[in-house]
Amino acid sequence: MVEPIIKEHAAIKTAKKSSFRSDKLKRQIVPYFFVLPNFVIFFTFIVVPAIVGLYYSFTDYDGLSEMNFVGIENYKEVFQSSEYWKIFANTFKYAFAVVPLIFICSLGIAMLLIKEIKAKGFFRAIFYWPTMISAIIVGVTWKWIFGDSFGVLNYLIESLGFKPIKWLSDPVFANMTVVVGTIWARIGFFMVIFMAGLQSIPTSYYEAAQMDGASKFRMFRSITLPLLKPTSFLVLILLLIESFKQYPLVLALTGGGPAKQTTYLVQYIYEFGFKKGELGYASAMSVVLFVVIAIFTVIQFKWTKGGTID
């Protein structure tokens, strides 16, 4: 009588064990299937072209003729080209202006818009809206505003009896318009990231600090900034990469002019690759750009200790 019961019990135990194992297996395997489509796309459109690009950088490929292996000739040319480094300096100056400005403005707006103010949703939408517009359209729109001959701004200036300003044909103003256009277009995106970061900081910290008589600035310096470090790190990395990759907005707004003053690396690489047909050389420039961005990212990572909270 007892034996069948024991057997039955053992069978149930085995079944449960095997079901537990299969559940565990499922839990381990299933996520990979969810990742699969993205992995395939990433591998096909990012990894493979990157490897092919690296290979091209050692050749004289022009997109049409047979390619020949040229060793490190393209890299030598990149490092000896004064124009490449002039364009690199343009890109760096642009990044140097855009990264801190967007960082400060988006953090400031995020801090304002997490407060209980009237029409909060409306203002959030207003700031976020430009991020949904394609960069080309943003460029065209700002050209419509800043255009030397047809621009709205110059029309207003002339209506008031003043001389029009060469917004796009003067190097200083042209750089300024690109920075303004970029800030307008990207501020909303980083504002949302900061808002998420700010909302994750427990309000009890501020309440305690308030009770201790801390000023608003002290609370910002001692609570907000340290606890926002992971978010700030993410924003800085994204902003830096974005600014080094700037192309469509500037293409539509200034076309890289005047006299290449607003030409940045990606446009320069594109022109060599697709307009001049020097794909080998353009690939070498891309590899150098990749290395530069990687170096900056590593420096930033070390500097901010990977965005960890002290």
């Binding site: 395939v40 096909t44 997109g63 001959s149 047809f150 917004w167 796009l168 005047p258 003053q261």
Partner: protein, 428 residues
């Protein structure tokens, strides 16, 4: 667990390989396809449109298909700014179209099919077309394309503003303005006619080179073996171009500010536009002011810059025979006349030089006259496309650098000459 992971890795690899295989498969075949029974052939025809010529070509294709039931011509329209990249990608990917409309013939000279066996030899074929454009479509005794239309640079002016200023434009080739006279005329149109802008010049080295030739300069030496753009005449032309900007005859907003000259001219606030005959169909719908075409002012000599569009067939498509037959049809007198007359273009054929245009017949005569007065060196320079296509951006950038005050004309042209030397050496 290990088995499952192995399976997973295998399936990932299989998926990646499958995509790779799908992307690489059939690469030897072109976009032109022929059915296995040999009856129906499809010719992919890559095309870009400036004005109305796309519709005109569709009509021509319809006629051709009615006469050749075994052929289907598929017109694939691509925006001009992406056109060369798209065509290069198709060729590099092993899938060239059967034929394409091209402006930069030299870039694709190696990939183009030789039409010689299909059109009765080089001399017979080329004798039908204007001699000045021969370098564009005959390379190393190979006929790489057929000319369809020719273009000429010229002056389109705002008649309303000129009338208001009381300035009369030259009426015949015998009394064309000098550049000084033209400068004065523009100043008057600005002062008395109320023009906000003087002369608009398209932001391309092709249009700039009009001045270069008129100043007796050229891009290459006569035999194309060395640069000539930095000689005395080349530098003088650029100095003068800068002076025109400084004096406000040419607005800086086009070459330095990226403003679209077409829009400026359409606004009715510009006195004149140094453009090309293709703009006639574009400006046809302007009705807020009167406009016309006048002769280019002369420098040391008179000159325009010839250009044009060509139809090129490609090798390794499997449909070369049918492509050649269609290209031959397009090159015929009747079809060429229909295309150019209805598209408002200048024909490249000698026997179609007086077409019955529905619009601007007299304007076309002015452009034709400009071409007749263009030196051969202009055609040779721009026909040397393998080299010129590599330096057009450098020429444009050098001119911009001078205009923005960065360097002197001599320094800029010397720099371009170095690039030209490199491009010439690479082409050998």
């Amino acid at each position: 667990m290990k088995k499952m992971l192995r399976m997973l890795t295998m399936s990932l690899l299989a998926a990646v390989l499958l995509i790779g295989v799908a992307a690489c498969s059939d690469s030897s075949k072109s976009s032109g396809t022929s059915k296995s029974d040999g009856k129906k052939v499809t010719l992919d025809f890559l095309w870009f449109t400036d004005g109305v010529e796309g519709d005109v070509m569709r009509d021509i294709i319809k006629d051709y298909q009615a006469k050749n039931k075994n052929v289907e011509v598929k017109l694939i329209e691509v925006a001009y700014q992406d056109y060369t990249t798209k065509l290069k990608t198709m060729i590099a990917g092993g899938k060239p179209p059967a034929l394409a409309r091209v402006t930069d013939t030299g870039i694709f000279a190696e990939q183009a099919m030789d039409l010689k066996p299909y059109v009765g030899g080089v001399d017979k074929f080329t004798s039908q077309f204007l001699p000045s454009i021969k370098p564009y479509y005959v390379k190393k005794d190979k006929i790489i394309a057929t000319p369809m239309d020719v273009t000429a640079n010229g002056i389109i002016y705002n008649k309303t503003l000129f009338k208001k200023a009381g300035v009369e434009v030259p009426q015949s080739p015998d009394d064309v303005w000098t550049w000084d006279e033209f400068e004065n005329a523009i100043k008057q149109v600005k002062e008395k006619g109320g023009a906000k802008y003087g002369l608009l010049v398209d932001f391309t080295p092709h249009r700039y080179s009009t001045l270069l030739y008129e100043f007796g300069g050229s891009i290459f030496t006569k035999d194309g073996s060395a640069p000539a753009i930095n000689n005395k005449n080349g530098v003088a032309a650029l100095d003068y171009f800068k002076k025109l900007h400084k004096d406000g005859i040419i607005p800086e907003s086009v070459w330095l500010g990226g403003e679209n000259p077409n829009n400026l001219f359409r606004s009715g606030t510009a006195a004149a536009h140094l453009a090309g005959n293709w703009m006639l169909s574009n400006y046809k719908d302007i009705n807020n002011f009167e406009w016309g075409v006048t002769y280019l002012p002369k420098g040391e000599i008179r000159s325009s810059v010839p250009g044009g569009k060509y139809i090129m067939g490609f090798q390794k498509t499997g449909v070369e025979k049918e492509t050649a037959a269609f290209i031959k049809y397009l090159a015929s007198k009747e079809v060429n006349a229909k295309f150019n007359q209805n598209s408002l273009f200048l024909s490249a054929r000698k026997d179609n030089n007086e077409l019955d245009y529905a619009f601007g017949k007299d304007m076309f005569k002015v452009f034709s006259n400009e071409l007749e007065n263009t030196p051969e060196v202009a055609a040779n320079d721009w026909g040397n496309q393998v080299v010129i296509s590599k330096v057009t951006t450098d020429i444009r950038d050098a001119v911009v650098e001078v205009l923005s005050g960065g360097v002197s004309s001599k320094e800029a042209m010397d720099k371009v000459a170095e690039k030209l030397k490199e491009a010439i050496a690479d082409s050998k």
